[in-house]
């Protein structure tokens, strides 16, 4: 595998085959370039339409560059009477932030307990958590709605926050990470120093869990931000999340493409920024098998 390229070149047959095994060929780059373009093009097209006027969709061939109407489209978006777009954005920030902070906190706390503390029933409880990960959430949406009616929570944001304060997936992910990232000696030492169990978590374990907690936080935020079905069921159109604002637009303005695309662009923008800044960490998180859809 360490044959230098100039030496390998004249040697045909086996040696060359071995050397070439893991090298990218021009065909590799071409394939990946096509995949890259296909992945990014719809997002780019969304931005292009959001910056133009409505006659854009009838243009043949379709325009390639952004136009100068982003400002006016965004103004129309926030002035729109049906979308409640500003409220949707604000609600989504509040809801996603609450769910993210809470999930990271409770999941790392429980993950620490499962990985580093001894207690009776530990394995059985962990197994239960893994089993709950297999249950599709939407299955229970009808009784969940009935609970919200009983509590008087329909149309209130707590209805889309409280059921998601901590997930089995988050607990399991933090447990896996804590098991290998937090040395037992560290926990012992902190105890000897007089820390309570929560003190050990707060001062020693949580800092050590930061990388995994970051990835869990990113993905929880993304998932909450993009959730659609449950908010649609339990919130009304006047108090929406940003995805419901998009849905509001699609109800009455489905042929006003620049308005709708301005809406989707603004709705995707926060996550796009997060993705640009933390792209590497997100890739790392997915590849460590840490992320579930």
């Amino acid at each position: 595998m360490t044959i230098p390229a100039p030496l390998a070149r004249p040697a045909r047959g086996t040696a060359r085959k071995l050397h070439g095994l893991w090298e990218a060929s021009p065909l590799t780059y071409l394939t990946l370039l096509v995949a890259l373009v296909l992945s990014v093009a719809p997002i780019y097209w969304m931005v292009v339409v959001a910056t133009r006027t409505n006659d854009v969709v009838a243009n043949v061939p379709p325009p390639v560059l952004p136009g100068g109407h982003l400002g006016s489209n965004v103004n129309r978006l926030f002035d729109n009477q049906d979308a409640y777009f500003a409220k949707g954005l604000l609600n989504s920030f509040v809801v996603s932030s609450c769910v993210t902070v809470s999930t990271v906190f409770f999941a790392s706390l429980a993950g620490f307990a499962f990985a580093k503390l001894r207690f009776r029933g530990r394995n059985a409880l962990l197994l239960t958590i893994v089993a709950t990960m297999m249950i599709p959430v939407q299955m229970g949406i009808i009784p969940l709605y009935m609970i919200m009616v009983k509590l008087g929570w329909q149309n209130h944001l707590q209805a889309v926050v409280v059921p998601f304060l901590v997930t089995g997936f988050g607990v399991f992910m933090m447990r896996q990470y804590a098991a290998q990232a937090v040395p037992d000696e560290l926990v012992e030492a902190a105890r000897v120093d007089g820390c309570t169990t929560f003190g050990v978590y707060w001062r020693v374990v949580l800092p050590a869990l930061r990388p995994a907690a970051g990835v869990l936080g990113l993905f929880t935020f993304m998932q909450t931000w993009n959730d659609f079905m449950w908010p649609l069921a339990v919130l009304n159109p006047e108090n929406p999340t940003v995805q419901l604002s998009i849905n509001n637009l699609a109800n009455g303005h489905f042929d006003d493409y620049t308005l709708m695309f301005a809406g989707t662009t603004i709705a995707v923008l926060p996550l796009l920024l997060v993705f640009v800044v933390f792209g590497r960490q997100i890739i790392g998180g997915i590849m460590e098998g840490a992320i579930k859809a």
């Binding site: 992945s39 339409v49 429980a110 009808i142 997930t167 998009i246 579930k292």
Partner: protein, 321 residues
């Protein structure tokens, strides 16, 4: 770690208090050690029991009633809702749609993700750029995807018809609308699954391939006889996750139907109405919560059946080739 050295020194001052205070503190410390673990894992179980486990079981109870929230009806129906389900043509139609869209999206998606992962699994420049690029679709919401692709698949002005130089009515035809929705799903998830496969591929020892190459096995044969069999557990995991998600498909077809009077219909002839949409429409649209709950249970069964099929399929596929 240096604090380990202070072990004999540190606790000493604490022992210097009055004996009673010392005992009280020791008791508290024991309580802390005994009870803290349970307190730490309790939040998950509380949230899950109230908002996850209980609703799931309660769905069964609701499904045995004629249950309307707006009308206030709540009448025992036994298995009436399930009996109705078997004769309900629209249910079977939605079931066909769900399975059709699921197969149309999952089969190409898995193959494409495997190929993409295999292509990414080389020494190359700008590897991170390509990896980030192919998972970029993941950040978009399904609602946004459905709206953008709804326009791309427009009959008269859509980019897809322009590219194909065709005039396909992607929204009206049953097979065409399934295809359009499957394309949306695959666009969003293929790169993500490819990265999961890539992570597993990187764990395969390279000398396996070297040995195969010396024996004269072609790249394609190496892929099917080494890579794919060794990826079996990962493929199974990904398939099951895709099955759970795919059979519950909701957001994409709902917003793909923008412009029709009832978006839960999935088009004028229900050509792309999924089971979840039918459940949602019955419960929240028509105040038939009991029947909606019965559909939810049917869907749950369907997911279990398909997960088992995945299991059998993956075991068979990698077994004796």
């Amino acid at each position: 770690m240096t604090s380990v050295g202070t072990r004999p020194v540190r606790p000493a001052p604490r022992a210097g208090g009055t004996p009673r205070a010392g005992r009280g503190r020791a008791l508290l410390a024991r309580l802390d050690v005994k009870a803290s673990p349970y307190a730490f894992v309790a939040p998950f179980f509380v949230v899950f029991l109230v908002f996850g486990g209980y609703p799931l079981v309660y769905t069964l109870w609701v499904s045995l009633h004629d249950w309307g929230l707006a009308s206030g009806t709540r009448k025992w129906a036994g298995f009436g809702n399930y009996g109705y389900l078997f004769g309900d043509e629209q249910f079977w139609h939605a079931l066909e749609n769900t399975v059709g869209i699921f197969l149309l999206s999952t089969v190409p998606q898995m193959l494409l993700a495997l190929l993409l992962a295999n292509t990414l699994n080389r020494r190359m420049r700008a590897a991170t750029v390509f990896r980030i690029g192919v998972v970029a679709p993941l950040i978009t919401s399904m609602a946004a995807v459905a709206i953008v692709f709804g326009q791309l698949f427009d009959t008269d002005y859509g980019f897809v018809n322009w590219l194909l130089q065709s005039h396909i009515d992607w929204h009206t035809g049953r097979a065409w609308s399934w295809t359009a929705i499957a394309v949306m799903v695959d666009w969003r998830w293929t790169g993500y699954n490819a990265l999961i496969f890539l992570a597993s591929m990187q764990a395969i020892p390279k000398d396996l391939y070297e040995a195969a190459a010396i024996d004269g096995a072609s790249r394609i044969r190496q892929f099917w006889q080494i890579t794919v069999p060794l990826l079996r557990p990962t493929i199974l995991f990904t398939l099951i996750i895709s099955t759970i998600g795919g059979l519950q498909m909701f957001t994409e077809p709902v917003l793909f139907g923008s412009g029709t009077s009832n978006k839960m219909d999935g088009g004028a002839t229900h050509q792309f109405q999924t089971l979840t949409m039918y459940m949602y429409d019955n419960a929240f649209g028509h105040d038939r919560y009991g029947y909606g709950a019965a559909i939810a249970w049917a869907l749950f069964l369907l997911i279990i059946v398909f997960s088992l099929l995945n299991f059998l399929f993956v075991r068979r596929a990698g077994g004796t080739r």
